[in-house]
Amino acid sequence: MKTVIPVNDKDVLKATRSFLRSLVDRGVVEAMYVPLEMEGGAVLPALVTDPAMLEKANPLAPVMPINGARAVSALTGKHTPGKLGAVLRPCEIRALIELVKLQQANLEGLTLIGVDCAGTFEVSDFTARRKAGSLDWTGYLGGLQSGTAAVDGLPLRAACQMCATPFAENSAVHLELLGSDLAAGIPLTVTDEVGAQLGLAEVARGEGATAALAPSLEARRQTRTKEITAIRERMNAEGGLDELFASCIRCHNCMTACPICYCKTCLFKSASFDHAPDHYFNTARRKGATRLLSDTLLFHVTRMNHMSTSCVSCGMCTSACPSDIPVGAIFSAVGEQVQAAFAYTPGRDVAEALPLVTFRESEWTEVGEAK
């Protein structure tokens, strides 16, 4: 059902908050995962059960401290204890779908409230601006209209600059924030069931909004192609991989921030690579020297093997990296290649099997035989 959330006095945020509150008041959800504004500038995602707390909710804030798929995984697990609503951005929804396939989350009893996303800023940038009171909110909302979020010339996160998938697909409640003047009303698409629960009436509206975004999406696609091509060239140069990960301090932040890396007993968190002192001496004797900490490339390339089929290019890894390694672009470059081999798009459809858990007998029959 297509409708419009009315906006009074051009206050888009207030209209969004009262809409979220109506979801709780009308019993569509009992609890909501949503970003809340804190004193001091930060915006933090939280699980809200008291509707009054939704006065602090701000799903429009262009910041994403964590990929919400991780949070929804924690809140749903094998059984969700109540009717949960989750306000998520497109890359969070895609990651969540992958986590469902990996049996780390479930969609039962979950109402996905998708918000279109023009891009997010690094947490530190966003918080500092907001704290200083210099965040150009009207500018950001204007950016939503054109699909190119910008606040006082602050750059978007690297992953967002090359994101051409800003629409929150697969959501039961979809706030279509991009491509139209939100001050005149927020376009909304809901399932008929939710529409009936909320007592919403169908409101006819144009479909032209997304067409207006075509140029900015094309520009982002080009940025992505350019970035990924550049990364591939660097990786394929002699010693390229070493150079890219030269400043890695093996803190595992990329893995911790990654919504797909869920393993509780990750090999790299185990003692497997705590070698005996002799091992380091022997390796150094063999090679003349050996890097410490050891096994840095092994860590990254193994992670590529374990999660690149499901990489949704959310770029949380890049944001988490203290050494400014373009981890997200590297994993996107690898992911795109692997996903293409299996004609697989992560986060597209929960019914689509993960490439490495399924097979067809008739495929790749040339593999395993001498040419």
């Binding site: 591939r232 990786m235 394929n236 140069a237 002699e238 010693g239 390229g240 991989l241 070493d242 030269a246 090999l267 390796t283 150094a284 063999r286 090679k287 003349g288 020297a289 050996t290 890097r291 096994d295 840095t296 490339l297 092994l298 390339v301 193994t302 590529m304 093997n305 374990h306 690149s308 089929t309 470059a333 690898v334 290649q337 692997v338 081999a341 299996f342 490439p355 490495l356 858990v357 399924t358 097979f359 067809r360 007998e361 495929e363 790749w364 029959t365 593999v367 395993g368 035989e369 001498a370």
Partner: protein, 143 residues
């Protein structure tokens, strides 16, 4: 170059217990000759070879890694080798994109009765690795 300093590739082979490892055993009991450059590790199934086991030797400087499994349709665990095949395809894509020489990793289906095929596979692989030359990772201290 004298005989003693000629490059001898080191190949790490992960062989499935039911087919290729038994095939290697048959090559031995049949007294078939093949190069001694291969270090064999027995696994219960080719699908038990996580890519990390392939990557570790490759990044440490092994010149080649061979994964041996049952022919498709013959897996002792019904479908393990079909999954190996997909994992191998993914690994090849990752190696190609990340600039690690994908030609150093081979997957071959060799049954328990194919001792000859095992011997010829190892012979071919060692020759191919000689052609490629030493794995540059052998000297790389910064991996």
């Amino acid at each position: 170059m004298s005989e003693t300093t000629a490059f001898e590739p080191r190949v790490v082979a992960f062989l499935c217990n039911w087919c290729t490892y038994t095939g290697a055993d048959l090559a031995g009991t049949s007294r078939l000759q093949y190069p001694p450059n291969v270090r064999i590790i027995r696994t219960m199934c080719s699908s038990a070879v996580d890519p990390v086991y392939v990557l570790k030797p490759l990044l440490e400087g092994a010149d080649g890694v061979l994964i041996g499994g049952c022919h498709p349709g013959d897996c002792h665990y019904q479908t393990g080798n079909y999954k190996t095949r997909r994992r191998y395809v993914a690994l090849q894509e990752i190696l190609k994109t990340s600039g690690i020489d994908a030609r150093r990793v081979w997957l071959r289906w060799i049954s328990a009765s194919e001792g000859q095929k095992f011997a010829s596979t190892v012979t071919d692989m060692v020759a191919a690795m000689k052609e490629l030359g030493p794995n540059p990772a052998r000297e790389n201290w910064a991996a």
